[in-house]
Amino acid sequence: MSLVSCEGLSKAFGPTCAVDQVSMTIQPGEILALLGPSGCGKTTVLRMLAGFEAPDQGTIALDQRLVAGPGLHVPPEERHVGMVFQQHALFPHLNVGLNVGFGLRGKARERQAQVQAMLKLVELDGYERRMPHQLSGGQQQRVALARALAPNPAVLLLDEPFSNLDADLRTTLRVQVRTILKQLGTTALFVTHDQEEALFMGDRIAVMQAGRLEQLARPQELFLAPATRFIAEFIGLAAFIPATVTAAGLATELGTVAQAIDAPVGTSVDMLVRPDDLELSADPQGNARILRCTFRGGDFLYDVALASQRTLRCVCNHVHEFAPDTRVQVTLAPGHPLAWFHPLQ
C-alpha cells in the first residue's frame, strides 16, 4: 500500500516535453529522493504532485485518493501536501509564529501549541516574534520546514531546499532535516540535483533524465547495478572498458574477469569500472603509466593510461604515492559482479 503513486505522468510546456511517462510510488514513511541534472523535469513532477501543474496524461493518487487524472484536478489547498521551497518562501509580512501557524485551523490555543511544538522540533523555540528577514538562511529554511509540517501533511515535498545555502550549512541542515522526518515518520519526496545529497537523504532514489525516469532503486543498487549508461556515469566516477564474452569469463585489456553474463560467447560489451574496482602496484614492466595524481585527503586518485591509450581512474589509500610517469600494474579486482552495457554504436 503506497502513500503516493503516479502512473504514466506526462507534461509538455509548448513543444518541449518536460515529463515523459513517469510512474513511481512512495511507501508510507519513506523518503524518496528525486535526482537529476537541472532541466530534467524533476521539479515539474513535484509541482504536479503538489497541484501547481496539471499533468497532460497520467494519474496521481495521494493516500489512496485520486487527485489528478483525466478531467480531474484537485486544487493544491485540498491535497494536504506540505511543501518546502527552494527560496523558503516565508511570508515577509508575518513573523515566525504566524508563518508556522498559517496552515493551521481550529482553536487559537491548539494552534499555538502546535506552533510551539513545531518550533521546538526545528530547534527555533523562542523565535516566534522574529520577522523572516531577521533570520539566517538556515533558520529561514527550518521555519519553512516547520510551517510545512505543522498541518500534519500526508506527504511532504521538498524542492531543492538547501540549494541556496552555503556548503557547511547544507551538510548540517540535511542531517537535521532527515532526523526530524524520520522521527515523525513523514513520507517525503526530496528533489535535488546534488547526488551526494540524494544519497544521504533518500531511502530510495529516483533518477530522472530528459523527462524520463531512468531508475528507481536503493542507493547501493544504483551504484552497483545501474540500469543505464547515464546512471552509471551520473552516479560516482565511472569508466568503461571494452570486453569480449568468452567461456572463461569476460576478456579485457586487463585480463579476464571470471564473471558469467547473459550473452552469447563472442559478444562485445562495455564493462563499468569504478576507481575502487582497480588495484595499483609499482611495477617497472607494468601495463599502465600514471598520468596525474590527485590527493583527496583520505586517498589518492590516479589517472592512468593503459597500453591502448585508454585512461582509467583508480583509488589508492594514502600510503602509496606514485609520481606521474611511473609505470604501474593495474589489476581488476572488483570483489562483486561488474555492470555491463552494450557498446555504443
Partner: protein
C-alpha cells in the same frame, strides 16, 4: 620621451602627499562648501517661513484658531485621502489584471493605463472643465440632442477628486505593478499548499505583500494632491494651495505665509507617517532574484467585466481629455485663433527649464558625491534632506522666496535667477536620485586606481568619474528639464514680469475661459511629457523580457 611626460605627475604626487599631512585637499573643501551651500538653500524657504511665523506669532495663533483655517485643513487632507483611496481602488485591480490574469488585450492595457501621467494637473483639470463644465462640450452635445442647458456642477470637491484621481492613479499603478512582477510566486504556492484557496491567498498573502508598494504609491499620490495647485485652482476647491495663491494675489501676506508653513507641515507629517508605518516589517526578499515569471490566472466569466473596467478607466483618463484637447485645437484653428505668442512661450519654457536643469544638476552633484563616496551619519542626513525636498509644495517655496526677495534681496526679486533657484529647490530630489544611482554604479576601485596612478582628486573626478557618470547626469538633467517645463505655481509667482511660458500661457487662457487658446500649448506640454514616459515603458518592457 615617456619619462619626460611621466615625471610631472610623480612630483605632484609627492607634493600633495606632504600637503595632505596638514589639511584636506582643496577639492574636498570645495565639495563640502558646495554641499553646505545647497543645504542652506534647501532650508531657506522653510526656515524663513518659520521665522516669519514666530515674529508674528500672535497673528499666526489667531489665524490658527479661525474656523476657516480648519475648514481648509479639512479640505486639503480630505481631498488627499480621498484621491489616494480612489486611486488604490483603480490601481490595484488594474495592476493585478495586467500582471496576473488572462485579461483580453493585457499587454495593451499595461502600456496604456499609466499614460495619464503625461497630463499635468492643470491641463487635465482644464480639459475636464471644458468637457463637463457649464457650457462645456458635453452640455452642448446634450443641449443639441435633448435641450439640456444645465449639468450638475463639476466645481469643488467632486471635480478636484475626479480630475486628480484620474491623473494620479498611475503612480500607484506603477509601483503596485512592479511589486507584483517582483513577487515570488512560491509565496502564493506555499499558501495554497497550506490549505488556503485562491481568494483567501489574495487577501492574506498577496495584498499584505503589496503593502510597501501601496504605501510608496499612496505617498506619491497624496503628496501630488497636497502640492497640486493647478487642478484645485481650476476646480475652485479651497485647499491650501489655492487659498495661498488667492491671498498672495490680494496681498494678504502674513496669512499666506502662515498657510504655506502649515502646508509644508502637512506634507512632512505625511512623509514621516508613511516611513513610520513601514517601520517593523521590511519586505525585501532574502533571496532577491525570482526564478519564475508570475503565473497567469484565468478570469473565467469575469474576463469581459474586467475588460470593460479597464476600458472605462482609460476612456475617462486618457481618451476623453485627449479628444477634448484636439476638439479645442481644431475649433481654435478654424476660428482663426492666433498662435503668434506661442513661439516666445516655447522659447521661454525651453530657456527656463534648461537653466533649471543645469542649476539643479550642479546643486545635486556635491550632495551625491558626498553621500555615495563618504557614507557617514552626516551624509546620511544630507541624503534625507535632499529627498525631503520632495515634500515641498511649489507654491509654498515660491511664496517664501517672494517674501524673502522683497525683504532681503530686492535685486533678485522677479529675476530669472530667483526662478532658477526655486526650480533647484523643487527638483533637487529628482536630480539627486539620478546622480546617486549612477555614482553607485561606478566602483570606487576605479577612482582609487586613478589615485594610485598619480592623479589628484579633481583630476580623477574630471577624467574618470564624470565621463562614467554621463548617463546619470543626462538622465537627471532631462528629468528636471521636463518637470520644470510643466511647473506652474513657482513660475507664476517668481517669473520676471511679462515672462510667458507654455504653462503660464495655459493658465492665463484657462483663467479667462479661452479654452481654444489653451489647446496648442497644452498639446505641446503633453507631447513633451510623453518623452520620459516612453523611456520608462521601454525600460519596463526590457525588464520583463
Amino acid at each position: 620621451m615617456n619619462q619626460a611626460k611621466l615625471s610631472p605627475i610623480r612630483q605632484q604626487r609627492q607634493r600633495s602627499f606632504t600637503l595632505r599631512q596638514r589639511l584636506p585637499h582643496w577639492s574636498t573643501l570645495l565639495l563640502w562648501a558646495g554641499a553646505l551651500l545647497v543645504m542652506a538653500g534647501l532650508l531657506l524657504p522653510t526656515v524663513y517661513l518659520l521665522i516669519r511665523a514666530f515674529e508674528t506669532s500672535e497673528a499666526a495663533l489667531q489665524i490658527f484658531m479661525r474656523p476657516r483655517t480648519w475648514v481648509i485643513i479639512g479640505n486639503t487632507t480630505g481631498l488627499a485621502l480621498a484621491v489616494t483611496a480612489v486611486s488604490a481602488l483603480i490601481a490595484v485591480p488594474i495592476a493585478w489584471l495586467t500582471v496576473r490574469s488572462d485579461l483580453p488585450w493585457r499587454r495593451f492595457w499595461a502600456v496604456v493605463t499609466p499614460l495619464p501621467l503625461v497630463i499635468p494637473s492643470y491641463v487635465g483639470a482644464y480639459l475636464y472643465i471644458s468637457a463637463l463644465g457649464p457650457r462645456g462640450a458635453l452640455q452642448q452635445l446634450l443641449e443639441g440632442l435633448f435641450g439640456i442647458t444645465r449639468l450638475p456642477s463639476i466645481y469643488g470637491f467632486t471635480g478636484a477628486l475626479f480630475a486628480l484621481t484620474l491623473m494620479c492613479y498611475p503612480y500607484m499603478l506603477l509601483s503596485v505593478r512592479a511589486a507584483l512582477m517582483r513577487m515570488d510566486p512560491s509565496l502564493e504556492e506555499a499558501s495554497r499548499s497550506l490549505g488556503h484557496n485562491a481568494t483567501t491567498t489574495f487577501w492574506r498573502v498577496v495584498l499584505p505583500a503589496l503593502r510597501p508598494a501601496l504605501g510608496a504609491g499612496g505617498l506619491l499620490v497624496a503628496l501630488y494632491t497636497l502640492r497640486d495647485f493647478g487642478a484645485v485652482a481650476i476646480m475652485r476647491f479651497d485647499t491650501f494651495t489655492r487659498v495661498i495663491y488667492l491671498q498672495y494675489s490680494s496681498f494678504d501676506r502674513s496669512q499666506a505665509a502662515f498657510f504655506a508653513l502649515l502646508l509644508i507641515g502637512l506634507t512632512l507629517v505625511l512623509v514621516t507617517f508613511e516611513a513610520q508605518t513601514r517601520g517593523a516589517a521590511r519586505y525585501a526578499h532574502a533571496s532577491g532574484a525570482v526564478a519564475r515569471p508570475p503565473t497567469i490566472i484565468a478570469l473565467g466569466r469575469w474576463r469581459w467585466p474586467a475588460f470593460v473596467f479597464c476600458a472605462l478607466i482609460v476612456s475617462l483618463s486618457l481618451v476623453l481629455p485627449l479628444t477634448i484637447l484636439i476638439y479645442w485645437l481644431v475649433r481654435g484653428l478654424l476660428a482663426g485663433e492666433q498662435m503668434g505668442n506661442l513661439g516666445s512661450a516655447v522659447w521661454n519654457s525651453l530657456l527656463a527649464s534648461g537653466g533649471g536643469a543645469l542649476v539643479t544638476v550642479l546643486a545635486a552633484l556635491p550632495l551625491a558625491v558626498l553621500v555615495v563616496r563618504r557614507p557617514g551619519r552626516f551624509t546620511a542626513l544630507i541624503e534625507q534632506m535632499a529627498y525631503s525636498a520632495f515634500a515641498l509644495p511649489g507654491i509654498a517655496v515660491a511664496l517664501a522666496l517672494v517674501f524673502f526677495g522683497i525683504s532681503y534681496a530686492r535685486g533678485l526679486y522677479q529675476t530669472f535667477a530667483m526662478l532658477l533657484f526655486a526650480y533647484a529647490i523643487l527638483f533637487l530630489p529628482q536630480a539627486f536620485g539620478a546622480l546617486r544611482t549612477s555614482l553607485l554604479q561606478i566602483h570606487p576601485g576605479l577612482e582609487e586606481s586613478a589615485r594610485s596612478l598619480g592623479y589628484r582628486p579633481p583630476q580623477v573626478f574630471l577624467r574618470v568619474t564624470a565621463p562614467l557618470m554621463r548617463p546619470g547626469l543626462l538622465a537627471g538633467a532631462s528629468l528636471v528639464f521636463l518637470t520644470a517645463m510643466k511647473e506652474l505655481p513657482a513660475t507664476l509667482l517668481l517669473a520676471p514680469l511679462g515672462f510667458r511660458s507654455l504653462a503660464t500661457e495655459i493658465w492665463s487662457a484657462v483663467s479667462e475661459a479661452f479654452f481654444a487658446r489653451a489647446a496648442a500649448p497644452a498639446l505641446l506640454i503633453v507631447l513633451l511629457s510623453s518623452v520620459p514616459m516612453a523611456l520608462l515603458s521601454l525600460r519596463e518592457r526590457r525588464g520583463m523580457s
